[in-house]
């Protein structure tokens, strides 16, 4: 029941925020905040209840609910939570609250409808992280697109219409391929057992020929690779991230990309272990290429927001590399990187949003020397930039380190290429630091951060550093799920749970 509440509260909050839209434009914001605060309380309750149980029960779900939905087709309303979902749900609500906060002054137009969309996206994302019925999963997967489309299309920047189309069509096309695979799996399982169901635990271990398994796997994989994004499927990302309002970019980078990685971990790896083995080398190659490509393109951008967008391509390359390397260390690294990237990139997008709110441009050329006029903004910005390049002591370091550590025994070449990406990320990160915070002082007098803005960024810094110093909380929570996923058991890494950076 608590899982259902998690999803429904933002939906109701969104409707309430929409209806409350009137002369008073802060009311919708407070309603959205309180809905998310309520969700946060629920999540904290979950953490408290299951803090010890997480690592003890590797195979069972921490919380589960299942109700008949469309019994004629074998569809049930099946939600469940395990360590991985718990981490992702917490991240969702954390970034959700921050995205409401960061829109406080940026969005002044149709505030109620804005928060309706924002909360509906969050609700869809929570559904994706909790759904265990494939139909239900697909339902939530598609559901989060529409409000995101509106968010970009209505409150975005100059090229918003183009970007929103591109976003919607790319992700929808990927989603439809997944639909084909879901149905293929449904019928193959149904025909071999006589029991037609979309229920994930029952579909696990469906017997199928290697060719069929490969095709079905590709359907799922492409849907998730578009979201992630993997190299040839990424063109929607820079446009969508750049044109979206700040809250939209935070959610896109922090959460929507993670749904792709989560899908890989939850569905692709367990459902098609053999097919994954087959294509893992190719995917790792693409992941490594993505790491370099994203970093190089990030360096070439003159639009600060676009730069940050391209760093996402690079960072998510690490996640993909880790997932397909398949060792426990690499998988833990991937999960860690998901959290770290979510927070860091979210913070960077918020910084860009704050700068744009002040100087009304995102061009790197018109920035410079902010440190003298806005020391708080600049010092905090520098911290996030350093986190993004993977400085030890931050969560990003743990993530990237573990991914490389776990990939090494599987594929040395890819590890080397991935490590090269770290060098490049230092290059573009330092370029941001140099261009924006240092350098010649422009004629712009920048007001420094307000209390609200300082508070938001401070919390994010605390999270990044706290996870960087004590990664064990997250690693332990995710471990039972990940050790079940490990597909290359010969590469077992005893070092995995020790983590790094301590």
């Amino acid at each position: 029941m608590i899982l259902l509440l998690l999803i429904i509260i933002p939906l109701l909050g969104g409707l309430a925020a929409w209806l409350s839209d009137g002369k008073n434009s802060t009311l919708p914001r407070w309603i959205a905040m309180s809905a998310l605060a309520f969700d946060l309380a629920l999540v904290l309750l979950l953490w408290k209840e299951h803090a010890t149980a997480v690592s003890l029960t590797p195979d069972s779900w921490l919380v589960e609910m299942q109700r008949a939905w469309i019994p004629q087709l074998g569809i049930s309303f099946h939600l469940a939570l395990d360590g991985l979902s718990l981490i992702m749900v917490s991240l969702t609500i954390f970034l959700g609250i921050l995205s409401v906060l960061c829109s406080w002054t940026e969005i002044s137009d149709r505030v109620g409808f804005f928060h309706l969309n924002l909360l509906f996206i969050l609700s869809g994302i929570l559904g994706v992280f909790l759904a265990l019925d494939l139909f239900l999963f697909y339902f939530f997967w598609e559901l989060m697109l529409v409000p995101m489309y509106f968010l970009i299309n209505i409150w975005g920047h100059e090229k918003r219409v183009y970007a929103s189309y591109k976003f919607f069509i790319f992700t929808q096309a990927g989603g439809l391929l997944m639909l084909l695979s879901i149905l293929g799996l449904y019928f193959i399982h149904g025909k071999s057992t006589g029991f037609y169901t979309f229920d994930y635990p029952l579909l696990l271990g469906t017997v199928m020929s290697p060719t069929v398994s490969l095709w079905l796997m590709l359907g799922f994989f492409i849907a998730f690779a578009v979201k992630l994004p993997m190299l040839p499927f990424h063109p929607w990302l820079p446009d969508a991230h750049t044109e979206a309002p700040t809250a939209g970019s935070v959610i896109l980078a922090g959460l929507l990309l993670k749904t792709g990685a989560y899908g890989l971990l939850r569905f692709v790896l367990p459902l098609f272990p053999d097919a994954v083995q087959m294509i893992a080398p190719i995917i790792m190659g693409l992941a490594a290429a993505g790491i370099l490509y994203g970093a190089v393109l990030a360096f070439a951008q003159t639009d600060l927001k676009r730069l940050v967008a391209y760093t996402s391509v690079s960072h998510m390359g690490f996640v993909l590399l880790g997932i397909f390397a398949g060792t426990t260390a690499a998988l833990s690294g991937a999960v860690m990187q998901m959290v770290a990237h979510g927070v860091t990139t979210g913070a960077l997008f918020m910084l860009v949003g704050m700068i744009q709110e002040r100087i009304h441009t995102r061009e790197l050329g018109s920035m410079g020397g902010f440190w003298t006029t806005a020391p708080r903004l600049s010092s905090m910005g520098l911290l996030f930039v350093l986190a993004s390049l993977g400085l030890p002591g931050t969560a990003n370091f743990i993530g990237e380190f573990l991914v490389l550590l776990g990939t090494f025994p599987v594929n040395i070449a890819m590890t080397v290429i991935g490590a090269l990406g770290l060098v490049l990320s230092a290059v573009y990160s330092l370029r941001i630091a140099q261009r924006v915070f240092h350098g010649t002082i422009g004629d712009i007098k920048l007001p420094d951060l307000s209390v609200r803005e300082t508070g938001m960024l401070a919390i994010m810094i605390l999270v990044i550093i706290w996870i960087g110093l004590f990664p064990q909380t997250i690693l332990n929570t995710a471990r039972p799920v990940l050790s079940g996923l490990e597909c290359c058991s010969s590469h077992e890494q005893p070092i995995s749970t020790k983590g790094g950076g301590q």
């Binding site: 139909f135 598609e142 559901l143 449904y186």
Partner: protein, 476 residues
């Protein structure tokens, strides 16, 4: 004919009486309100008599008509659709000058034709139904006599429909010559017994397919669609798009389930080609349109293409999928044209993109309904269209029609472009003078739209009961 037969026929009888009463009422006293009240109550009685007939079916009433659960299901769908369209027409015609009363008479007659089609098991009743439907539609399409486009649409429809009737008749003659019977079941059993499929028989079936395909507006028989959709008054367009197509699809489905199409490779291939062509042509041509009615016309061509996939699928899911898809399509299409007719002003239908720019900020409620309908056409969750598309793809996957469903998926993506274009226009930020006058939205029209939207979401979120009804009804 005994009592049971009469009860089974009662929907037809009730509607015929309604038509006569409406006609007499118009002769005695011209009143828009009175005509609408009579029409709606007649339709409501018809709907009630459908429920009354459930216990007496299935039975063959004369050699021409078989009333079974299948027929009753489609009767219910058609009558409900007509009720919604009639109610929307009231708001639409109330704004306009001229004589509106005959419109409802024609609407009732066309509905009667559609109803006959759902129960037809014989070529004679099939043809009767089609002609009754078509002849009423000629007049309905050209109902705005003084509008050039409306008249053009009417004439175009008249000529092409007459030609297609000829083809249909010729096809029936060929099949009759080969099989020696005009009832579907006997044709099927005689073909099955002889085991041979000669050229005349195949040609005859293909011609019947062509004749019916014209009504369904599938490629290559679609040429009339955009002009008729654009020229006809919005409620009539809704009727052409839903009731007329739904009834013809019902009879086509009945023919296809009687005659095992999988033993006729030529027919199978032609139908697949028609389905694929409809999906691609409909979606690709819609991309370049600037007229909302024309976009919806092309979109409906592609949707009929999707529906044909269920006709080709043979599994147990297929018939239920087509029925569910039709229900979703009815709700969505009537809803979309309902918004168009409510938005339309006194002089012309609101069919240009400009009419919808920024609608979300003038009439948030109408824009929300329109977006919901468009999302349903695009197959996005929370709407009936999503479940419908899921069902259709499922039926295709069950019969391993992978090529067809991959085409369907590609087309769904192409379709997104133009649905999103309309939605983007709805939500466009347009700086308007604050004092701009916005027309009030008529109550009856909004009530109908509210019901349709509620149904759309209900079927999208909790389709179980509807699937149960369909499964009950679709046992032949």
């Amino acid at each position: 004919m005994n009592r049971g037969d009469l009860i089974a026929l009662s929907p037809f009888i009730t509607l015929s009486i309604t038509a006569i009463v409406v006609m007499l009422a118009i002769a005695l006293r011209r009143s828009h309100v009175l005509t609408v009240v009579l029409t709606l109550s007649g339709l409501a009685l018809t709907l009630a008599s459908i429920f009354g007939a459930i216990c007496t079916v299935p039975r063959e009433v004369t050699a021409l008509i078989r009333i079974d659960h299948y027929a009753l299901f489609f009767l219910g769908l058609i009558v409900t659709g007509t009720i919604a369209i009639a109610a929307l027409s009231y708001s639409y015609f109330e704004e306009r000058s001229g004589q509106q009363e005959e419109f409802y008479l024609l609407l009732l007659l066309a509905t009667l034709g559609a109803m006959v089609l759902t129960a037809a098991t014989h070529f004679a009743s099939l043809f009767l139904g089609i002609e009754l439907l078509s002849v009423s539609l000629y007049a309905l399409t050209a109902y705005h006599r003084h509008s050039l486009r409306s008249t053009e649409a009417g004439v175009k429809y008249l000529i092409l429909a007459a030609a297609s009737s000829g083809v249909l008749l010729f096809g029936m003659a060929l099949v009759y010559a080969e099989a020696g019977s005009m009832t579907f079941t006997q044709i099927a059993s005689r073909i099955g017994a002889s085991g041979t499929y000669g050229l005349p028989l195949t040609a005859g079936l293909v011609m019947i397919l062509a004749g019916l395909g014209f009504k369904l507006a599938v490629v290559p028989f679609h040429l009339w669609t955009p002009d008729v959709y654009e020229g006809a008054p919005a409620p009539v367009t809704a009727f052409v798009a839903t009731v007329s197509k739904g009834a013809v699809f019902a009879v086509l489905l009945r023919i296809f389930t009687n005659i095992n199409i999988h033993e006729l490779p030529a027919l199978l291939m032609i139908t697949s080609a028609v389905a694929i062509a409809s999906m691609f042509v409909g979606n690709l041509l819609a991309l370049k349109q600037n007229n909302v009615k024309r976009i919806l016309a092309y979109s409906s061509i592609s949707h009929l293409g999707y529906l044909l996939v269920t006709l080709l699928a043979s599994g147990p899911m297929a018939i239920a999928a087509s029925a569910f898809y039709l229900v979703a399509y009815f709700i969505t299409t009537i809803g979309a044209f309902g918004v168009i007719s409510v938005v339309s002003g006194k002089d012309r239908d609101a069919d240009l993109m400009e009419d919808y720019q920024g609608l979300a900020w003038r009439h948030p409620w109408l824009a929300a309904v329109f977006s919901a309908m468009l999302f349903s056409l695009a197959g996005i969750p929370l709407t009936a269209g999503f479940v419908g598309k899921f069902y259709v793809v499922g039926a295709g996957a069950e019969s391993s029609l992978w090529a067809l469903i991959i085409v369907l998926v590609i087309n769904s993506v192409i379709g997104l472009f133009y649905y999103l274009r309309i939605i983007a226009a709805l939500f466009e930020r347009k700086e308007e003078p604050a004092t701009q006058h916005t027309d009030p939205v008529p109550e009856l029209g909004s009530a109908v739209l509210a019901c349709l939207t509620a149904l759309l979401v209900w079927l999208g979120v909790y389709p179980g009961p509807m699937i149960e009804i369909i499964k009950e009804a679709m046992n032949f």
